[in-house]
Amino acid sequence: MLREQILKLLSEGFAQEIKHDDHQLLAEVSPERLQALTELLLKRFNARLSYITASDEGVKGFQVVYIFSFGHVERGVYLVAKVSASRFNGRVPSLASTTRQAIWAERETMEFTGITFTGNPDPRHLWLPYTWPEYDYRKVRIGAEESLHAGRDLRARVIPIGPYHPATLEGQYVKLFMERDVIVDADIKLGFNHRGVNRLIERRSFDRGVFAAERVCGICSGAHGLAYVTAVERLCDVKPPERALHIRTLLAELNRIQSHLLWLGVLCDITGFKTGFMLSWSLRERILDIISLITKYRVHYNIWRLGGVSRDIPDDLAGKIVRQLSKLKEQASSLAKKIAEHPLIKHRLMEVGILKFHDAVDIGAVGPTARGSGWKIDVRVDHPPNAAYADHGIQWEIPVYTGQDCYARLLVRIDEILESINICQQILNKLPQLPKDLLTEVGNPTEGSEAVGFNEAPRGELLYYVKAGEEGAPACVRVRTPSYRNNACLPAMLKGYTLADAPVIMASIDQCMACTDRVEIVDVKKQSSFALSWHELLAFSRKASRRFSINA
């Protein structure tokens, strides 16, 4: 229904060329009509602007890709709108005045491709070193500095958090402008972990890209693997066997449980509750043991394959895991209750870091951050990945809290841990009845075809945009991680709170900078940077292992 309405709107002079299948709509849009189209999509169809990126089309220039998601309105529907831009001095109107969801993505695209988004209020670089002369983050602050000076206090104290700081653990630079003890403004700079993983995936064939995708993040590696295979399987129009789909769900949910337990520990650590931190992480170890029983690995599962999975779960192992999970569920429930009901934890999290519902929608919060602000979005329902969820009779509740504060985000994640254990138990009980096939043959996708693979990573909506190139290799791969989106909400969440609240607010969105910054190796002595080839990386790893074994 919605799909038809969007098609009708597009055909009213907005799109020059429209392609569509069951869920995906592809349209070529003229730059002049882009803003009007976006306004209509957002207002009339309640669309989310999931991502803006650009693909390099060689001599033809760039194609700016706008991914609009309608999954929360009608399941699985999304639109990929494309606008052509010249290779030299390409100009595209900015959508920042229409939606704040566009600001970061436009800044990123401007930095990577040189396209100018006319009208973007914040054209500063996002990824270059923060001392880059064009905009030195330590000195210059366009816009915000003016508003500060025009405001009450000229002596706003600047407290820098990062690039390396005990509160964030990963590289980022958050600049807090303080008036007395209150944060009056905040600015965030990324790029300290930027490794160009997109490019690494583009240099590999489709089937080998999954290994690079898994390495985007060490905590939600499973989520990246699943999102990547979902995107490529959509390109090839392949449906993996039932059993493989169920095993994928099991691992994605185990991934979510361990990630949330890790987060719970980090939150306890930041609030100074070390006991909670130790107990959460010891429980997480049990989940990692289960993952290791299934995949033989703890961090990167190496189980995702195009058209299925590489390992089966024998029936006796499934039974054993079900028993372990029942015990873990009790322990997790009891621990979570102790943490959530601790009066000091409540005091530190309640009414802190409020992200209002309309801000969450406008800036584009995802995952538990959005659900903690009362916005019921979950990719497992909106754009199910190629795994077994509601379509396969798996039942679960999407936890949504309306508190809008850090405590609501804590409750969402606690509920998700228990719901994910519930999903794992359903899957494991179903597995013995499923046929034993694990893989389907996958051919090469048509050159120029494109697809988006969504997945609900532990931190929220994860998106892979893949465009097929020649001879079974991708021409363009783009990754939009959930932390990228949630980090953009941080300044709005920090304003009005104290320095003591800042680490808690930053932790409440479960920041993952490795994901956000997506290896480039920099030789400091030679002042050059290069990427390691697969064989070089392998040799490097073997050398390190040999040295370790000798020392041991």
Binding site: R157, P166, G272, K274, H342, H347
Partner: protein, 329 residues
């Protein structure tokens, strides 16, 4: 002047004893906290195959930390106010030692027998704490400044609490001499008769020793290491040594004032002193393990104010009622 009232060998003996007891108290604190967190904590007996690397025991881990820092170079930030930056840790150590000499030990009154030993011990404890925030402020780092600011706010409250507690004890026993208070309460410990004053004292200790929930000045995720952020090498070693002595002073003062149970339990006074001091450390470690940090200096002030007022009223009432028991009036 100090030489007139205490000889050098006694002073060295007190310093060594205070540092060793500080290490042992910190070991007990870490061990119990670890046990409550499902960890093993510092090892009493190291695995035999690691003896050549780690030694036989890690009970004196805090001392090894100080030793390591003493072997390191000291870096002084260019923007720091050098005289205060260097003087603060040295003076902190001096004041910590001066506070320790007023703690009487069973059979060894040291300076605890002085008429105003309690007031002087508390004065030197306060001077030690002031050196911490002065050092932090002299560092010229935003983190040190933020930490120092937090320390000053907390200082105002825990020092008031400490003074109130000590004053109430003195009023109850009719003396400001630590030794006399200890002698008078040996048959009927103050912990039993006026537990509110003991709680008031423990409340002050948690703030002074930065035990959770009152570790706001050193909250790592918020202000890195607070006043200590820019300190390293030998100067940090001095701060850590001073801290070990302060741990000893606070705990021993608590057990001397409130847990002098030698006569009450008919046990050896030394055994009673050490045992009850360790028990106080265990109580603090439990509090540390079960509490998250308070939300900034505002929450510290609020919680201190509420607890201080309630406990002061209760203990003052007890002091007025119980005073005749100890003063013989």
């Amino acid at each position: 002047m100090l030489k007139c009232i205490i000889d050098a060998s006694t002073l060295v003996g007190v310093v060594v004893f205070a540092i060793l007891m500080g290490c042992i108290y910190q070991f007990i604190f870490r061990k119990f906290t670890a046990l409550l967190q499902g960890r093993r904590g510092p090892l009493v007996l190291v695995y035999r195959d690691l003896w050549h690397l780690m030694g036989i025991t890690r009970i004196l881990q805090s001392l090894y930390d100080v030793g390591k820092l003493l072997a390191k170079n000291t870096v002084i930030p260019g923007s720091a106010f050098k005289p205060l930056y260097i003087a603060s840790p040295i003076l902190a150590l001096v004041f910590a030692i001066l506070s320790a000499v007023f703690i009487p030990l069973p059979g060894m009154p040291i300076l605890g027998s002085l008429e105003h030993s309690l007031s002087l011990a508390i004065l030197f404890l306060a001077l030690y704490s002031s050196m911490v925030f002065i050092g932090g402020a002299a560092s010229s780092s935003p983190w040190s400044a933020a930490g120092a600011k937090r320390e000053i706010i907390q200082f105002a409250f825990y020092e008031t609490t400490l003074v109130l507690s000590a004053f109430l004890v003195a009023v109850t026993c009719g003396s400001f001499s630590i030794l006399q208070i200890s002698m008078k309460t040996r048959s009927l410990p103050l912990l039993i008769t006026n537990p509110f004053a003991a709680l008031l004292f423990l409340l002050a200790c948690t703030g002074k020793l930065h035990i959770k929930p009152y570790d706001v000045p050193e909250a790592e995720p918020e202000v890195v290491a607070g006043p200590y952020t820019e300190y390293g090498g030998k100067l940090l070693a001095l701060f850590l040594t001073a801290r070990l002595i302060i741990i000893y002073t606070c705990i021993s003062l608590f057990s001397t004032l409130f847990l002098s149970m030698g006569l009450f339990l008919s046990v050896d006074p030394w055994l009673s002193h050490v045992f009850f001091s360790c028990l106080a450390v265990v109580a603090l470690s439990i509090l540390h393990a079960i509490s998250p940090r308070l939300r900034g200096p505002g929450a510290v002030a609020k919680s201190y104010l509420i607890l201080m007022v309630i406990l002061t009223i209760l203990s003052a009432t007890s002091a007025v009622i119980l005073s005749p028991l100890y003063t013989g009036g």
